[in-house]
């Protein structure tokens, strides 16, 4: 499966309070969280984003809290994947664990402009920019993380392990 969608650009150090403000954390309902996705960075984002769209950001995306509500809000807002120069550590783990594909690519993060049409191949880590007719590479995903994705997230991975 490949991910295809329009790029929404954000800057460096986008924190988890910008992704999902704590005032909405009195619930863990995914659809409810999605309604406020990226609200404090761009109040109109939840209305503007279309299924399949791709968030493209600078360094340290998802810094701050450990709240899994952040990747959940992004995933349920319909975003197919996130490309950033680098990710904050806990956000990186959480995204894999809940099944939100993310790609580290300083090259892509720098070259992509807002509104570019992108095609991402998670298998090879190749990011195609259909608007600019360019191609970038993402850092390969560690083997172990690929196993988690293949199992459909950490919980399935653990359940399988306990069964065997």
């Amino acid at each position: 499966m490949k991910y295809r969608g329009k790029a929404w650009k954000f800057g460096a150090d986008v924190d988890t309070d910008a992704i999902i403000p704590a005032r909405y954390l009195n619930t863990s309902d995914s659809e409810e969280l999605a309604k406020h996705c990226m609200e404090d960075a761009d109040p109109e984002f939840p209305q503007k984003v279309k299924p399949g769209d791709i968030i493209v950001a600078g360094k340290n995306f998802g810094c701050g809290s450990s709240r899994e509500h952040a990747p959940i809000a992004i995933k349920y807002a319909g975003v197919s994947c996130v490309i950033a120069k680098t990710f904050a550590r806990i956000f990186y783990r959480n995204a894999f664990n809940i099944g939100l594909p993310i790609f580290e690519s300083p090259e892509a993060a720098g070259a992509i402009s807002e509104g570019d049409e992108l095609l991402v191949d998670p298998g090879t880590g190749v990011i195609k920019n259909l608007t600019k007719n360019e191609e970038y590479r993402a850092t390969p995903v560690p083997e172990f993380m690929q196993q988690i994705i293949a199992a459909g997230g950490l919980i399935n991975y653990v359940a399988n392990r306990l069964k065997s």
């Binding site: 954390l25 863990s28 560690p142 653990v158 359940a159």
Partner: protein, 420 residues
């Protein structure tokens, strides 16, 4: 091969003689922690795994602290969910309102975490326990769910950065100022994915409260963990408190570091981080004229006894400025009781502060002191992101308790020597 303290603790918990940065390892954990925001999600995931109960009812620690005492119906339901789970699985370490505290103040105080431990918590400030010489790091709810079932987790061995603090700590300069200064130097991703090891003569003299404050904010530089080599100060703190045996690890003198920073602190001033990132630090004397509407003294960063004593020493016999709301939040019930015994609560209330039961409250813009549009707070907390304490157009300035107390009196960001 020589190893750092972080590598040694990880190796011991992986059942290996040796680990290297970059290696993915499976480790046994000593404690798994969740709170009222992250545990509800973890419990839901835990129930999908299909195990009867948690791996160890003594080692799964649940602390409702963010939105309790319940701020509204939704948060009451979240708290109920974890209470029900704690009862169902007979968890020993579930802490109810009236006994609880902010998780990262509570666990060290109760001796639930100790030197040499490996702790994961579904809260980013789990890195606090590095102050004790433990490896501890924040994870997400799904990681917590898996850990509650297995008593294990996977980790990537981080590279370490060593920070050596030389000189004499000037009056009014605390652990908070050291860590704010450090983050100001290296930036909010300056230690991304890495371990921050705090060492040197200044750290050796630093109190345990100060060390916990420093390790607490390691995540604000993007670090996986912060750690202080355990010593006599550590021993005095854990003796008679630790509920399990503990072990002191130290880095080998020739261990490998990605980087080594050396700072001389003798001329350092208390620091203030300006909006909207913890790296925007300045010495307090360069803060300029910044009027403040609310001052918060508390949180897992600075809600401990030493912090409250320092603030009280400045506020004693003085009044909070009529333009400021001062909110003081002790980190745990035990700290609250000690504050009463020492007469600090009286000093704060007499000065015109609102003194709260332990809670995270305003630190994350939860309740108990939310900012309106355009308002400014100075807080002893750890994050000043956009919207962190309320309206997206409000501002948060971070500082230690001494600057916070002086600011509350002056109504603008102020240095302690302006009032004390």
């Amino acid at each position: 091969m020589p190893m750092t303290i972080t590598e040694k603790i990880l190796a011991a918990h992986a059942g290996m003689d040796q680990v290297e940065p970059g290696q993915l390892i499976n480790v046994k954990i000593d404690v798994a922690l969740g709170n009222d925001i992250t545990a509800p999600v973890a419990i839901r995931e835990f129930e999908k795994i299909g195990v009867e109960t948690v791996w160890d009812r003594d080692r799964v620690v649940l602390v409702p602290d963010h939105f309790v005492p319940n701020k509204d119906i939704k948060s009451a339901e979240q708290a109920l969910l974890i209470r029900t789970f704690a009862r169902k699985h007979n968890l020993i370490n579930y802490f109810e309102v009236g006994h609880m505290g902010i998780e990262h103040c509570l666990l060290p105080e109760q001796g639930l975490v100790g030197p040499g431990d490996l702790i994961i918590g579904a809260d980013s400030h789990t890195c606090t326990y590095g102050g004790l010489g433990a490896f501890s790091t924040g994870v997400g709810s799904t990681d917590l769910a898996a850990a509650m079932a297995l008593g294990e987790t996977w980790l990537k061995v981080p590279e370490s950065i060593k920070f050596i603090f030389h000189g004499e700590l000037p009056k009014w300069v605390s652990g908070k100022d050291l860590i704010l200064y450090t983050i100001g130097q290296i930036g909010v991703d300056g230690a991304l994915y890495m371990a921050m090891e705090f060492t040197g003569p200044v750290i050796e003299k630093l109190s345990m409260d100060g060390r916990l404050t420093m390790a607490n904010m390691a995540v604000e530089a993007g670090a996986k963990n912060g750690i202080v080599p355990p010593d006599e100060v550590t021993r005095r703190y854990v003796e008679g408190r630790a509920k399990r045996s503990y072990r002191f690890y130290r880095s080998d003198p020739d261990a490998g570091y990605a980087e080594v920073y050396e700072f001389d602190v003798s001329q350092m001033e208390p620091q203030v981080a300006f909006p909207h990132l913890p790296e925007n630090t300045r010495p307090v004397s360069e803060a300029g004229n910044v009027a403040i509407d609310q001052v918060v003294i508390g949180s897992c960063t600075n809600g401990r006894m030493e912090d409250l004593r320092e603030a009280a020493s400045i506020l004693k016999g003085r009044k909070v400025n009529s333009n400021v709301r001062l909110i003081v939040i002790p980190g745990t019930q035990e700290i609250y009781r000690q504050m009463l015994r020492e007469g600090l609560a009286e000093i704060f209330v007499e000065a015109g502060a609102a003194v709260s039961t332990p809670t995270c409250g305003p630190c994350l813009g939860g309740h108990m002191g939310i900012l309106a549009k355009g308002e400014r707070a100075l807080a002893t907390t750890n994050r000043n992101f956009v919207g962190r304490m309320g309206h997206p157009e409000s501002e948060v300035y971070l500082a230690g308790p001494a600057v916070a107390a002086a600011t509350a009196i002056m109504g603008k960001i102020a240095a302690p020597w302006e009032v004390a």
